[in-house]
Amino acid sequence: MSYLELTARQRIPAIFDAGSFEEFLPPSKRIASPHLAQLDSPVSFDDGVVVGRGKLGGHTVFGAAQEGAFMGGAVGEVHGAKLAGMLRRAIDERAYAVLLLLESGGVRLHEANAGLIAVSEVMRAMLDVRAAGIPVVAVVGGSNGCFGGMGIAARCANTVIMSEEGRLAMSGPEVIETASGVEEFDSRDRALVWRTTGGKHRYLLGDCQVLVADDTDAFRGAALDAIAALKSGEVGLTLEGLLAEQDLLARRLRDAEGVNEPMELWRRLGIPEPASVPMLEAGAFLELAQQHRARLHTGEQ
């Protein structure tokens, strides 16, 4: 089953063990945004996010799913507080892991200042979870992508899992086109948008650690594997880990000197025919990417 077009409420049972998920503060409690009515905007009784606790492979995993169909999954005061509350509870109850199904345009402009503070609270809460020794895994595979502050928050997780169709970045193409002109970024050039923000590009650069086909079973399997792998190591921030990340990001800047086209970056990573990358099936792409993708150099180097 395709993950891309599912709603948040359809994704939860498709990823977590069947029938295991218990939602915190469900829509029946009718806790909606206090800021939308004055703008004559409709509200949602879950404020666009499902948070709770379920089983994944038999372990108690806390989780959330953002609903892209409600205001693009954007984070307002209530939405952000639900995420932060769930993350704090994951620490209280010593969760096995946290799994975040992200789909968001970032800060909800209708409650701008509250949303901005809320996203920073979510980031800090995610890092608190990691500091408590609990792995945090983020999934990006929804049709609205993961942008703005939530694009940053995704990279505060231990592992990011994407599909080729997923998009992960900060400012959306339309925002850049509006601010800097169509010659800077043509938001209607879908192929360019995909090369710039899509799953394959992020995987090659090292911004996502796992790439799967757009399939709920594939995402579920990848989440199980990622959590299992993380359980055997340190999941909190470490100086060594951040120095390795700094090295990756500094190398990327050096390698990208003078480059403005993603395909040229792929070529510099050693991919022989970059123009063929968009057409490759998941399996063939992963085989090619294994040899060339940028990686963290940790520990043993």
Partner: protein, 242 residues
């Protein structure tokens, strides 16, 4: 306020802060104790290079001066809006900066943010907003986006937003609104007749590692639902109205 004037007021005993391409770094003393300073100036957009430079400076402090306090001076018009920054994963550079600040805090460094001119959205979220505590000067501007752009995206007329911004802290730029919502711990200079050195010393003394911003927003009446909702989720109870 330009950064040199600010630095003179913060550190009357002198400082060794330098500017290079709008990136500030160096050190100074507060009450006889060393403090490291990083930041930006000239309302510079935060692109990948300057985000990485700030992160590198923080990790240097963590490695070379364990426990030394860090002051982040914020002046930015927001994240840089360029295709190349997005192609190279600016969200990862921003997240890296935020994680370096977070690591410093966990290793016992007090990290204080100070918005001394402008703070916008993505340029602010992984600097001042991820510090242990964030303050602003009274004349600072803090916002997510200007009201005209916000009107375009939300399809709410600008006149309506301007009207709402008058008494609703959620829309209006300005430090008082962020103070009411708990996003700022305080505004410097008003109670001390502009003695920024004393404000900084006090902020360092009061700095705690936990995130109390929701509670502050509730106490100050600017963000009434965040704390009750987070508590209800955390304890499995219903939301109690503030």
């Amino acid at each position: 306020m330009d950064w040199q004037t600010l630095a003179t007021q913060l550190f009357p005993g002198g400082h060794a802060i330098v500017e290079r391409d709008n990136f500030l770094s160096g050190s100074a003393q507060v009450g006889g104790q060393p403090i490291d300073v990083i930041g930006t100036t000239g309302h510079v957009p935060i692109g990948i290079e300057i985000a990485l430079a700030q992160a590198t400076a923080i990790l240097n402090t963590v490695q070379q001066h364990p426990g030394r306090p860090i002051l982040i001076l914020v002046d930015t018009q927001g994240q840089r809006l360029r295709h190349r920054d997005e192609m190279l994963g600016i969200n990862s550079y921003m997240a890296h900066l935020g994680k370096c600040v977070d690591l410093a805090r966990r290793k016992g460094h007090a990290v204080i943010g100070l918005v001394y001119d402008q703070a916008l959205s993505g340029g602010f979220i992984t600097s001042g907003l991820i510090a242990s505590a964030c303050y602003a000067l009274p004349q600072a501007t803090i916002r997510v986006m200007g009201l005209p752009a916000m009107a375009r995206i939300t399809k709410v007329p600008e006149e309506r937003l301007t009207e709402l911004a008058r008494d609703n802290p959620v829309f209006a730029p300005g430090p008082e609104n962020y103070l009411r919502m708990g996003g700022l711990h305080g505004i410097w200079g008003e109670g001390t007749g502009g003695d920024l050195a004393r404000e900084l010393a006090r902020a360092l003394a009061e700095c705690t590692p936990d995130d109390r911003r929701m509670a502050l927003g509730l106490e100050r009446g600017g963000r009434l639902l965040a704390q009750p909702v987070a508590d209800a989720v955390r304890t499995g109870s219903d939301v109690r109205p503030a």
